[in-house]
Symmetry: C2
Subunit: 433 residues, 2 copies
Amino acid sequence: MGINLPNFLTSKSKNKRMNEFQDLDHIDGVSISTLSANLYKDTRDDVVLFYFREGANFASVYTQSKIISENIKWNLNQKSKKIHSLLVNARNANCFTGKQGYKSLEKIAELLSQKLSERQLEDEEYPKKIKPKEIIFGCTGTIGETFPEDKIKNKIPELIDKIKYTQNKYIWMKAALGIMTTDTQPKMAMEICNIGSSEIKIFGVAKGSGMIQPNMATTLAYIFTDADLPNDLLKKILKKNITTTFHAITCDGDTSTNDMVSIFSTGKAKHSKITNINDEKIKDFDLALNKVLLNLAKRVVADGEGASKFISINVENCKNEDDAKKIAFSIANSPLVKTAIAGEDPNWGRIVMAIGKSGVILNIEKLSIRFGDILIVQNGKINPNYNEAEASSYMKGDNIEINVGVFSGSKKFSAYTMDLTNKYIEINSDYRS
Amino acid sequence: MGINLPNFLTSKSKNKRMNEFQDLDHIDGVSISTLSANLYKDTRDDVVLFYFREGANFASVYTQSKIISENIKWNLNQKSKKIHSLLVNARNANCFTGKQGYKSLEKIAELLSQKLSERQLEDEEYPKKIKPKEIIFGCTGTIGETFPEDKIKNKIPELIDKIKYTQNKYIWMKAALGIMTTDTQPKMAMEICNIGSSEIKIFGVAKGSGMIQPNMATTLAYIFTDADLPNDLLKKILKKNITTTFHAITCDGDTSTNDMVSIFSTGKAKHSKITNINDEKIKDFDLALNKVLLNLAKRVVADGEGASKFISINVENCKNEDDAKKIAFSIANSPLVKTAIAGEDPNWGRIVMAIGKSGVILNIEKLSIRFGDILIVQNGKINPNYNEAEASSYMKGDNIEINVGVFSGSKKFSAYTMDLTNKYIEINSDYRS
């Protein structure tokens, strides 16, 4: 959409190679292969295979929708300790496809595990038979259309042939592009951190909530690390960091049936064993994981449909985090706030309205509201020095910060969203064709 | 907005005079007076006085927002059994005006009660001194601007001079116009019903959620009846009927600080005493009140900003009404559903998404979805006879019905909204000027 990505990648990072175009390179234990299975009319990569030669520990967080896609049902049914492959397709969400959709995944998993086993059994270093239940799926695209089982199955031999054990920035870019639906930019992020004295990589790719033709938003994010962490710890650390990252973004308040964020840990970097999330040695990893997730989540919002401005909403000094979150999302999901920002109007009255409708009980006489550093409301009154011309000029930027102080406690929450533009309506009211 | 009002006014009504342009006439005990206090740049009526010569019993339901305007604070503080006047102004919402806003109301109430008393004490039939606490206020317009106390006070003598004891359709139209902000049409409704053998009138005027320049939506609805009902019964019957009418509509999910629905009962129609909401004799009044409220509520939605289509969402066969309501509002507030309808796209996938994100646990294998009478999903599967061309043709109408069957019980809820168009964005992103 031509929006300039805000400066997500702060100088505080330890990763010196980091910049706005992060180049992901090799990560031990992960192989990627992508191709076109002709799921789209135009030829483009639409199937991406992530392959873990020696298996990977893993954890996932799925959509909060009560209607879930068939691939998420499949994933929830697999109880393997290690995963050998994640297969992602675009164009078809495999949702509302019923038994056909689920059976297709069974058959694809069967064929993929058989073909991977053929390769792996010849592997002198790691001969192993791979089982269907060691494969999970990500799907995104239209719902309610027959899942293209044959098109995908036909390409499995070629997908496997293309596997290389050494990855580079080109293949990561291909993976990020291959999982896109209506995103306008691929989304990648990385951090390097330490567990004890070992250097650990955390790479991630994501796709966003491009909810255009034909049907629906889906957020997918896949994180890969060479750390050696057990599944239950991965689950805890992923859930903890999702709260302030992927669960802190909103485009239009709509929720997909297919959302999926997963972390895979190949265990190829050797470090002392960690089993407890409170272990001091995991702190740096924890922070780095948060950065990767936040970086990807912000990229999803910045590339939201029709977005012309990136909006951060910081709600501070609340009695509890839940209150801060309710206020932040009430502002972030308000069409009136989002249209005002699209119109570059410092319409603080709408912020007041959104705070009021959040349902949080607060003392209005303590309330403060700032756009960036511009103080508008203080102690529940308009700042007598407020200069609307200054605020109007601030609103012309690409990167808008709304800061709300509640002054009833010490808890805070930040939510991220984009403005609501004519372009959003155009995109979403276009007849599917 | 050019939208044709759907045929709200069904032939089932007992009121033979009813049509799409209902003419409200005289109702005993209510006087109306309107004028321009120059609150707008252009001269238009912006202050409306409703005067109850002999007082009226009353009840109100206010906004659910946690930030409320000064006039609502004032109204909540008045504990009079009877009200003598409701003064409504447009242009300034008297919200976020702090002590100045509240004190202005005190002073206006003081002057208005004094001037009304002067008139009333000369009244041979009903000499009475009117107290400030027998006056309540409705305000709508910008928030955060100084309340125009003097402009309003200056006009009070003229407002009172203009009071006539016999009302006609012209003065009701003036009242409906005088309380408007960015509504494009005045909103009036009436029903005639019986309590016992007495004929009872129920009249209503409303303004809608035109959330354009400068700031904010406010729904105001005022109902007047010549029935003789006590305050606690009015409160119960208003609350009961609000649930399926004004609390069943949504334009964009945003909530004003000033919303106010009130009922005033002048007691001029004589009938047997009623104290209990379950009394058989109040049934007809109950139904008629629901019709008036629903009629006004639907008019508010149909005149919602940028509306090109009126949408009814009927969710049936739920375990409880709360589930039905959650699903109905999840659909009604989904920008993806509302943009699809603006684009005349029978995009049922988005209905599925919105049902899923409602949080209601349901058996997807029982789910049915219809647009009007067109069956799309039955028993959780696409209807094999579904013809998208037929559905596309249906979507071209002004009046769209989405019918969802959950089949887990017998409860239902209907919500009403309009589509989300480019016009909405244009209106709301225009810089305030």
